[in-house]
């Protein structure tokens, strides 16, 4: 028997919501439906989804049927405290210009954020494309330019292209501090541990680059459904509709089979997968993208002799939130001490962070 999650009398945003999809029995790989299985726990592994699901009203509309859990989907949020502290140390070095994406600016480090460092006189530039960091290096031959690279597979090819451009230009003052990460190993870690997740919404733009093979293990090894989703409410509903079977499927029009091969080739040319630290997860094998030996001259970690350090304990509960163990509202600091204006942790800084999304949509 097939169960409807969406009762057709309910005013759903789209007609799509009224189709009988998401059979909970199928989602759980059971032969029999059971209404006690509701709500389904669906993890979205993408901060843009977290934001879209809250803002569009899907979270409220589907409450009781689907419990959305935010996974490790925002590269700012999952950056290890040690990476943030290292980036700050680099920013404070004399003769250095650091360049990074706007979301990184207010993440609290050991003593301050990059924004505080900027106020204190450090030259920290906000860029939109890694190529701008190469530009800055060209225009400032007497300074050392360090691109603080944060992002997932979507951003890694752009960072790779910047490194290759710098090499072509024979720049001697351009460096990259990489905190770039791969999504799949973190998802697998969640699946390996005990969990109550019934299905995954996969990050759309990561999938555009990697293709869906990267995530086949979710259904093949762990028998859970997964679908790559776009970012409008309609696209998210379309992806939810695909979660009926334990298969990894596509519901985002931009994803092509095999992903973007040119982008994957560039990433593989410059970076190599290595063990990397994630906030809340600790070290995950093969999850970080480090510069290859061939590009050691561009590697800020090597050139500036950054040593591995122990993870510093902070008050923030992002770690539990990123694993889907507690919702932001369960953090004792949420909205009381910790707000987007005065964030204690990265999940409240980044617009895509689970805490910021929860705060901004409190209504």
């Amino acid at each position: 028997m097939k169960r409807k999650i969406f009762n057709s009398q309910r005013p759903a945003t789209e007609a799509a919501a009224q189709r009988p999809f998401l059979s909970p029995s199928a989602l759980r790989g059971e032969g029999r439906a059971n209404s006690r299985n509701l709500p389904l726990n669906i993890m979205e592994v993408c901060g843009t989804h977290t934001n879209a699901i809250a803002k569009s009203g899907l979270k409220t509309l589907l409450a009781g049927r689907i419990n959305f859990i935010s996974g490790p989907g925002c590269p700012v949020c999952v950056s290890a405290q040690s990476d943030i502290d290292n980036m700050l140390a680099l920013a404070l070095k004399p003769g250095v210009i650091t360049a990074t994406f706007g979301d990184m600016l207010r993440v609290p480090g050991a003593k301050m954020s990059l924004k505080d460092a900027q106020t204190a006189g450090a030259d920290v530039r906000i860029i939109y494309s890694p190529l701008q960091a190469v530009d800055i290096a060209q225009k400032n031959p007497n300074k050392k330019i360090i691109f603080l690279a944060v992002g997932f597979e979507t951003t890694a090819p752009a960072a790779a292209a910047a490194v290759l451009a710098a090499r072509k230009l024979k720049l001697k003052n351009f460096y990259v501090y990489t905190a770039l990460k791969r999504v799949a190993p973190a998802v697998e870690l969640i699946l390996k541990e005990k969990n109550n997740i019934d299905g995954f919404l996969l990050p759309g733009n990561v999938s555009v680059i990697t293709g869906l093979k990267e995530f086949d293990f979710i259904s093949e090894k762990y028998a859970k459904p997964a679908a790559a989703a776009g970012f409008s409410a309609k696209e998210i509903l379309a992806a939810l509709a695909k979660l009926g079977k334990p298969k990894t499927q596509n519901a985002y029009a931009w994803v092509k089979a095999g992903g973007n091969k040119t982008a994957l080739r560039l990433t593989a040319k410059v970076f190599t997968p290595a063990a990397g630290s994630w906030r809340g997860f600790g070290k995950i094998e093969q999850s970080a993208l480090e510069l290859k030996e061939e590009f050691a001259a561009f590697d800020a970690k090597k050139v500036f002799k950054i040593r591995a350090q122990k993870e510093r304990k902070t008050k923030c509960r992002c770690a539990l939130i990123l694993k889907g163990k507690i919702p932001p509202q369960k953090c004792p600091y949420f909205a009381r001490v910790c707000t987007p204006q005065k964030p204690l942790g990265p999940c409240m800084v980044s617009q895509e962070g689970a805490c910021a999304a929860a705060y901004n949509n409190m209504g």
Binding site: G47, S129, P130, F152, P157, A253, W254, K256, A263
Partner: protein
Amino acid sequence: MCLSSVGKIISVKNGRALVDFNGVRKEVSAALKPQAKKGLYALVHAGFIIEIMAAKEAKKTIADINETQNF
């Protein structure tokens, strides 16, 4: 963070593409998508075209996005 925008490719020259985002034109790199061509739609992230789509298909996608607002 992997936020992206969709725009129409106006021209491509030497690996740089001029893309029209709802009336705002921006030059981006076509290095990650050498098949980028005038008239196609582009998905752009961090100053790079990461995927392309024929106009007909893309217009539908754009309509979907506009309907529910950009996030």
